[in-house]
């Protein structure tokens, strides 16, 4: 009986302590989930998202190192060394703080380039990853059509950050690092490709709840999106 009481008391203490730890954990780590910025030391054999970001950046800068697959292989090593040589850094093939800084990536999220192309690619990735390529170009084209329209802000950043205009801005998916496909789609749109023919709205009929958006005449359907004027 005494053993049972002792066990019950221990169990109660354990449960109470676990509850306390859980509460403290919830209080002090409320966020999480946002993509981490590149910052770790990368070398031949490294893998992961940071490698993919570096590959993507090198490709953008013209130091071709193959598809951005997240694996630091020979192509990436060669690309990093060529970049380091060109920038007057020690061509050791290791991506550290100096190389990150020279790439304009820094070691924190705020150090990354905030050009219009990068922002547009982030928007495309946040809104339409998983859509066919033409669907991604179409989403980028809608942003640019809004820039040209009198009814919307007249800059890419103005359009994208207009309150509640894009879901990915409201739910934080805009902060995900875009892949090469999103970059290519954004670049196509910025060079004039527009499969929508001037549309300024799109929605996913499976999730859209606004009665207003359903009233717009549909000009084109691509993947899961309806495009409207």
């Amino acid at each position: 009986m005494l053993n049972t009481q002792r066990r019950a008391a221990r169990l109660t203490i354990f449960v109470a302590a676990a509850a306390l730890i859980l509460i403290l954990a919830l209080l002090f780590f409320p966020g999480g989930g946002r993509a981490q910025a590149a910052g770790e030391l990368l070398r031949y054999g490294s893998r992961g998202e940071s490698v993919r970001q570096v590959q993507s950046r090198l490709n953008q800068l013209g130091y071709w190192c193959g598809t951005a697959d997240g694996i630091f292989g020979n192509n990436t090593l060669s690309g990093v060394r060529r970049f380091q040589s060109a920038k007057g850094l020690a061509a050791d093939g290791i991506v550290g703080p100096k190389t990150y800084a020279a790439m304009g990536m820094g070691t924190s999220q705020t150090g990354y380039s905030s050009s219009d192309l990068y922002l547009l690619a982030r928007c495309v990735y946040g809104e339409a990853r998983g859509e066919p390529y033409v669907g991604q170009v179409a989403v980028a084209a809608v942003v640019l059509n809004r820039v040209k329209s009198a009814s919307f802000p007249n800059s890419i950043s103005g359009v994208i950050y207009q309150p509640y205009a894009f879901t990915c801005v409201a739910d934080g998916q805009l902060y995900l690092e875009p892949d090469q496909t999103a970059y290519n789609a954004a670049r196509d749109a910025m060079n004039g490709w527009d499969p929508t023919g001037g549309c300024i709205y799109y929605y996913n009929p499976a999730t859209a709840t606004s009665a207003w958006i359903w009233s717009r005449p549909i000009m084109l359907q691509i993947g899961r999106h309806n495009f409207c004027k």
């Binding site: 109660t12 302590a17 050009s115 009814s151």
Partner: protein, 441 residues
């Protein structure tokens, strides 16, 4: 043993009390933070509201003053002031887009009005007279601005009493303020259609594609034509996606080839390729003449007489712009864009919309000034490299013949477009290094 159980119970109670206290503090801090965010959001709305009312008031006054002004210098000043007020109102309105479209109609009004004022400013600065019709339009714009001001006024009284919430639910404006945003749509004022030479002209909405004159084809015929026209690209699969109804009817297909996957869009009338693009892996540039490749591709599609005018290379992809050349003049409105893989020189995309809309055989006026005369003029610091005749698009969808003067100031490159009769400068473009290579701005 009883003591041990009592100690355990005390420890448990203490731990739970600590947990409740911590939770209480956390909830209190959270609620305070939430209230701060709510106040901050409402303050931002209020600031935007004050900016909007002030800008609409100043815009109206400047538009009304223009009715009493006759001299071009005064018209220039008033139109510039009105245009700045419109920009300010437009900035304020972006705050009130609670769902991406709630402020769209009012935003369109202020942007169009601002653009129209900028157009009249340009006209007056060239010494041209403002017509009676234009004055009438200014008056109607002023009336519309007055109506918006009137609808905004009651909100100010409530703000003074300290009890107006612009947004009670996250992501939506309150109903009363949504009504203000729709002030111009209730039929109580006549907001005129604005047809003028500017980028927000209503005239741009009615543009017709000049080259799409053939018979309408079916989606099956379109697929066949796409295979024929892009056959050289080694098409492995073509799948119908759907029909496009914007601007003109078109068919869209998903396309797979040895260059990767992409899409192609065919005009239903006549079957011209509107655009196609592959998302393929690119690589390091090899030596080849990208301009010649692009010209060859255009010829194969039936677009004759195209000249490369611009190229930008980034990420292993070359974007090449080609324009139609007529009587030695580059016709910029008739532009085709070709995308080339830098690794192997294969064409992986093409965009012809501008050409399809604008191409026609033009009656080009004979320039009063010769290219040599234009070249011999002074352009300040600009060191002139070349001069050639060029037809350029105007902001309102028209076009005009000019001379294109290319020159440099130190390392910087410039294109200056001048009138072929008076030699007056009509546009200046500068080459800047951008994320996508060299850009013209």
């Amino acid at each position: 043993m009883k003591n041990a159980a009592a100690i355990s119970l005390t420890v448990v109670t203490a731990l739970l009390l600590v947990a409740v206290a911590v939770l209480g503090v956390f909830l209190s801090v959270s609620l305070q933070t939430q209230e701060q965010y709510r106040l901050s959001a409402n303050n931002a709305y209020e600031q935007a509201y004050y900016q909007l009312t002030e800008s609409m008031g100043n815009m109206r006054v400047n538009l009304d003053k223009a009715r009493a002004a006759q001299g071009n210098a005064m018209i220039c000043k008033l139109m510039m002031d009105a245009s700045v007020c419109c920009q300010s109102a437009s900035q304020a309105l972006y705050r009130f887009s609670s769902n991406g479209h709630s402020a769209a109609a009012l935003t369109k009004f202020v942007n169009q009005a601002g653009d129209y004022c900028a157009y009249l400013h340009g006209k007056a600065s060239r010494g041209e007279q403002i017509t009676a019709e234009e004055r009438n339009t200014l008056q109607k714009l002023g009336d519309a601005a007055a109506l918006v001001q009137e609808k905004l006024a009651p909100v100010r009284e409530e703000l003074g009493a300290g009890g107006y919430e612009f947004s009670r639910v996250l992501g939506s404006l309150n109903e009363e303020f949504s009504g203000v945003m729709n002030a111009l749509q209730d039929g109580s004022t006549e907001y005129p259609s604005l047809i003028y030479d500017g980028p927000f002209s209503d005239g741009l909405d009615d543009k017709q594609a000049k080259t799409l004159t053939g018979e309408e084809i079916s989606a099956q015929e379109g697929e066949k034509m796409a295979r024929e026209k892009l056959g050289a690209l080694g098409i492995e699969g073509l799948e119908y996606i759907g029909e496009g109804k914007a601007d003109f009817k078109s068919y869209l297909y998903e396309i797979k080839s040895e260059h990767g996957s992409g899409d192609v869009q065919i005009a239903a009338r006549g079957g011209a390729i509107v655009q196609f693009s592959f998302n393929c892996e690119a690589g390091e540039k090899r030596e080849f003449d990208a301009g010649e490749q692009a010209k060859k591709f255009c010829r194969a599609l039936g677009f004759e007489g195209m000249t490369p005018v611009w190229s930008a290379e980034k990420d292993g992809i070359i974007y090449m712009n080609l324009c139609y050349e007529q009587d030695g003049a580059i016709v910029y409105p008739d532009m085709i864009k070709v995308k080339i893989n830098a690794a192997d020189g294969h064409v992986i995309g093409c965009e012809t919309l501008s050409y399809l809309f604008n191409h026609t055989q033009r009656q080009l006026q004979k320039p009063v000034l010769s290219a040599e005369e234009i070249k011999s003029r002074s352009y300040g610091e600009l060191e002139v490299q070349s001069v050639r005749p060029a037809v350029i698009p105007t902001p309102g969808g028209g076009e005009r013949l000019t001379y294109e003067v290319f020159g440099t100031i130190g390392e910087e490159k410039f294109f200056v477009y001048v009138d072929p009769c008076s030699g007056e400068e009509v546009r200046v473009l500068m080459v800047v290094d951008g994320e996508q290579g060299e850009l013209l701005m």
